[in-house]
C-alpha cells in the first residue's frame, strides 16, 4: 500500500461509505466537474502556493543567488554548491537537533499539564464552568504577546521568576534565561508550552467524556482502585486522543516561528535556532537566498519522510476524522 493510500484512509476523506442511499459509485461526469470546481479555489490557494514555493525553492537551491528579482534568480547558472555547503554545515544539523528538542519539549510539557487539567475538570467541582474558561485562556493569547510576557517575567534583574526563585533560595545570582546559551532553549519552550496546554486540555477532555461509565462501574464492583481504573480503563480509552493530540502539537511546534523569533531570534549563538527559524534567518538576515532555499528543501524532504513513516505505523481507526 502506498503512503497516500494510507493517508487518504487515515484522513477519512473517502466519501464512499457515507450512507446507503448515496449515489456515489456511478457519479455522473457533471457532478465530478462540479466537485472539481468546488475544490479548485482552495487547491489554488493551498496547493498552488505549495507547488509554487517548492518549484521556486528547488530553482533557487540549485543556483548561487542572493535576495533579488525573480528574473535574476533563474538567469543564474545551475550549481550544486548550495547543497554541498548546507549539508556540510554543522549549523544545519544543529538546527535540526534544536528543532527536535524544541518539538519534543513543547509537546510533552503541555501534554502533562493538559492531562492533569483535563482529569481534574472531568470531575465535579464548584465553579466548574469558570475554572474551565480560565484554564483555556492561554489559547486566546497571541504567541508574540505570550512571548513578551514570559520574556518580562523571566527578565534577569526585575523578572518575577528570578524574584520568586531568589525568595525561596533556589538561586543566588540572577539567571539570564533567554540570554544564556545553555538555558535559552528551555526558556523558549516554556511560553510555547504554556500556550499549548489548553489544546491538550480540550482534546483530552473530549476523550475522557467519550469513555463509557459502565466500564468504570464494572471495575469498581470488581474492586479496582483509582490507580487501577486509570491504568486499565482511562489510559487505554484515552490513547487515540493522546496520540492525535501529541501528533498535532508536535507538527505545530515544528513549524513554530513566532515564539522563538520574538524572544531570541534564534540566538544566543544559535542555541534556539530551529530549522524553521534558520530558514528565515538565512533568507532575511544573512540574505543568502540559495542557502535558505536549500535548507528549505532539506527540511521538506525530512518532513515528508517523517510524515510518511509515521502514517505507515498508525492504524487508521485512531485518526479517523481528526485530520
Amino acid at each position: 500500500m502506498t503512503t497516500s493510500d494510507t493517508l487518504t484512509r487515515v484522513r477519512g476523506l473517502h466519501t464512499g461509505d457515507r450512507g446507503p442511499r448515496a449515489p456515489r459509485k456511478r457519479a455522473p461526469r457533471r457532478s465530478r466537474i462540479t466537485a472539481a470546481a468546488y475544490i479548485a479555489p482552495s487547491m489554488i490557494a493551498v496547493g498552488g502556493s505549495l507547488v509554487f514555493a517548492l518549484v521556486l525553492l528547488v530553482g533557487m537551491s540549485l543556483r548561487d543567488v542572493s535576495l533579488g528579482r525573480l528574473s535574476a534568480i533563474f538567469a543564474a547558472p545551475l550549481t550544486l554548491t548550495n547543497y554541498v555547503e548546507v549539508l556540510g554545515d554543522p549549523a544545519t544539523w544543529r538546527s535540526f537537533l534544536v528543532s527536535l528538542i524544541y518539538t519534543v519539549g513543547s509537546t510533552l510539557l503541555p501534554f502533562i499539564g493538559g492531562l492533569m487539567i483535563a482529569l481534574l475538570l472531568n470531575q465535579r467541582m464548584p465553579g466548574q464552568r469558570l475554572l474551565r474558561t480560565l484554564a483555556l485562556v492561554p489559547w486566546a493569547v497571541p504567541s508574540v504577546t505570550a512571548t513578551v510576557a514570559f520574556v518580562w517575567m523571566m527578565q534577569p534583574t526585575y523578572g518575577v521568576w528570578n524574584y520568586l526563585l531568589r525568595s525561596v533560595g533556589l538561586i543566588d545570582t540572577d539567571v539570564n534565561w533567554f540570554g544564556d546559551p545553555n538555558l535559552a532553549l528551555l526558556a523558549v519552550i516554556i511560553p510555547t508550552s504554556w500556550k499549548a496546554i489548553p489544546f491538550f486540555t480540550l482534546m483530552l477532555l473530549a476523550g475522557l467524556q467519550s469513555l463509557s461509565r459502565e466500564q468504570y462501574e464494572a471495575a469498581e464492583v470488581d474492586g479496582a482502585g483509582r490507580l487501577a481504573r486509570f491504568r486499565w480503563i482511562t489510559l487505554p480509552g484515552l490513547a487515540p486522543f493522546i496520540l492525535v493530540a501529541l501528533l498535532f502539537s508536535a507538527m505545530h511546534s515544528f513549524r513554530e516561528f513566532d515564539f522563538i523569533y520574538a524572544s531570541t531570534q534564534g540566538g544566543p549563538d544559535g542555541a534556539t535556532e530551529t530549522a524553521a527559524v534558520r530558514i528565515y534567518n538565512q533568507a532575511f538576515e544573512s540574505f543568502d537566498l540559495g542557502n535558505a532555499a536549500t535548507l528549505g528543501i532539506v527540511t521538506f524532504v525530512l518532513v515528508a519522510v517523517l510524515v510518511a513513516l509515521l502514517f505507515r505505523r498508525l492504524n487508521k481507526g485512531s485518526l479517523e476524522g481528526f485530520l
Binding site: A45, V148, A206, F284
Partner: protein
C-alpha cells in the same frame, strides 16, 4: 427538525459526564472530605492565569514599582495608573498597527472561510477527482514550516508588485490557514445528513442552491468557528507580516509588539499594555465562540 438535532449533536459540550455525577451521588458520606481536586485545580488555574495577571500588574503599576527587585505580587496598597496606555496611544503607532491588523485579519478570515466553504462541501459530499492529492496537499500545508513559504511569497509578491501591501499578507495568510478551516468545516458538514441535500436536489434545487440555501443556514455555528479560527490565526501572525510588510506604517500589531521588545530601552509598562490590548479581540471571539471552537478544535485537531 432532525437537521437541527444532528447539527447540535456534533458540538461537543464539555460538561460533567453522567458517569461522574452518578459516582459522586452514590457516595454522600465522602462529600465532607477536603476536595483535593478542587484545590489542585485552583492552583493550576492560578499558574495558567499568572502571566496575564502579571502583564496587567506591570501595565498599571508605576515604573518604580515595576523596576523593582522585590516586586509586589498582590495589587493591595499599590497606586495604579493607566499612563502606560495613554503613552502607548500617543507615542507609538499602535492605532495604525491595530487598524492594519484588523484589516488583514478580516480579509484573511473572510477569504479563507469563503474558500473553505466550497472545499469543505465538496470534500464532505462528492467523490473528488484526485482526492488523495487534496488530502496530501492540506496535510503538507499544515506540517511545513511557514518560513518555508515566506521566502517564495516574498519573491512572488515582489515580482507582481504586491510586496509591502496588506493584500500580500492576506493572500499568504489564506494559503496558510485554509487547510485548517476547510477541514474544520468539513467535519461540521459531515454531521449534516446528506439526505437533506438529496431531497432538495430532487425538488429541483441546484448544488450551489443546496449549499447556499440549505447547508449554510444550518451551519452558522460551524462557519462561526471556522471564521473565528481563521481570524485568530491571522490576528496573531508575525511571520508573513514581518516578511511581506516592510515599511513601518504598514506594520501590524504583532510586528509592533515585536519591535517594542527589540528597542534598546524596553518600556515594560507600555509593552505589557500593548500585549493586553492584543489579547482583547481574541478574547471576545473566544468568549462568543467558545462552544463552537471547542468542537472545531477537537474535530479538526486545530491548535490556535
Amino acid at each position: 427538525m432532525s437537521t437541527m438535532t444532528t447539527a447540535t449533536a456534533t458540538t461537543t459540550t464539555i460538561a460533567p459526564t453522567a458517569a461522574t455525577t452518578a459516582r459522586q451521588a452514590r457516595r454522600p458520606a465522602k462529600r465532607r472530605r477536603v476536595n483535593w481536586s478542587f484545590i489542585t485545580m485552583i492552583a493550576l488555574v492560578c499558574f495558567m492565569f499568572f502571566p496575564i495577571y502579571w502583564m496587567f500588574m506591570t501595565a498599571v503599576l508605576p515604573t518604580s514599582a515595576v523596576l523593582s527587585r522585590n516586586p509586589a505580587l498582590l495589587p493591595f496598597g499599590q497606586t495604579f495608573s493607566f499612563d502606560a496606555f495613554t503613552t502607548l496611544f500617543t507615542e507609538t503607532a499602535i492605532v495604525s498597527w491595530l487598524l492594519q491588523s484588523g484589516f488583514v485579519t478580516l480579509g484573511s478570515a473572510l477569504l479563507s472561510t469563503a474558500v473553505a466553504v466550497t472545499a469543505a462541501y465538496a470534500m464532505s459530499r462528492f467523490s473528488i477527482p484526485g482526492q488523495k492529492l487534496v488530502g496530501m496537499t492540506f496535510l503538507m500545508g499544515r506540517v511545513l514550516p511557514g518560513t518555508l513559504l515566506a521566502l517564495p511569497f516574498f519573491v512572488l509578491f515582489q515580482a507582481i508588485g504586491l510586496l509591502d501591501t496588506s493584500t500580500a499578507v492576506i493572500l499568504a495568510n489564506t494559503a496558510a490557514i485554509t487547510p485548517l478551516t476547510a477541514l474544520t468545516l468539513k467535519g461540521y458538514f459531515d454531521g449534516i445528513p446528506r439526505e437533506i441535500d438529496e431531497a432538495a436536489l430532487v425538488d429541483g434545487c441546484t448544488r450551489l442552491g443546496v449549499l447556499w440555501r440549505i447547508i449554510l443556514p444550518v451551519s452558522v455555528p460551524g462557519l462561526a468557528a471556522c471564521f473565528g479560527l481563521a481570524a485568530t490565526a491571522a490576528w496573531t501572525d508575525l511571520l508573513f507580516a514581518r516578511t511581506l510588510l516592510l515599511s513601518r506604517e504598514n506594520w501590524t500589531m504583532p510586528q509592533g509588539i515585536a519591535s517594542m521588545i527589540s528597542d534598546v530601552e524596553i518600556h515594560w509598562n507600555e509593552l505589557m499594555a500593548a500585549g493586553l490590548i492584543s489579547i482583547i479581540p481574541v478574547m471576545i471571539v473566544y468568549w462568543f465562540l467558545q462552544p463552537y471552537l471547542v468542537s472545531g478544535m477537537t474535530a479538526g485537531g486545530v491548535k490556535g
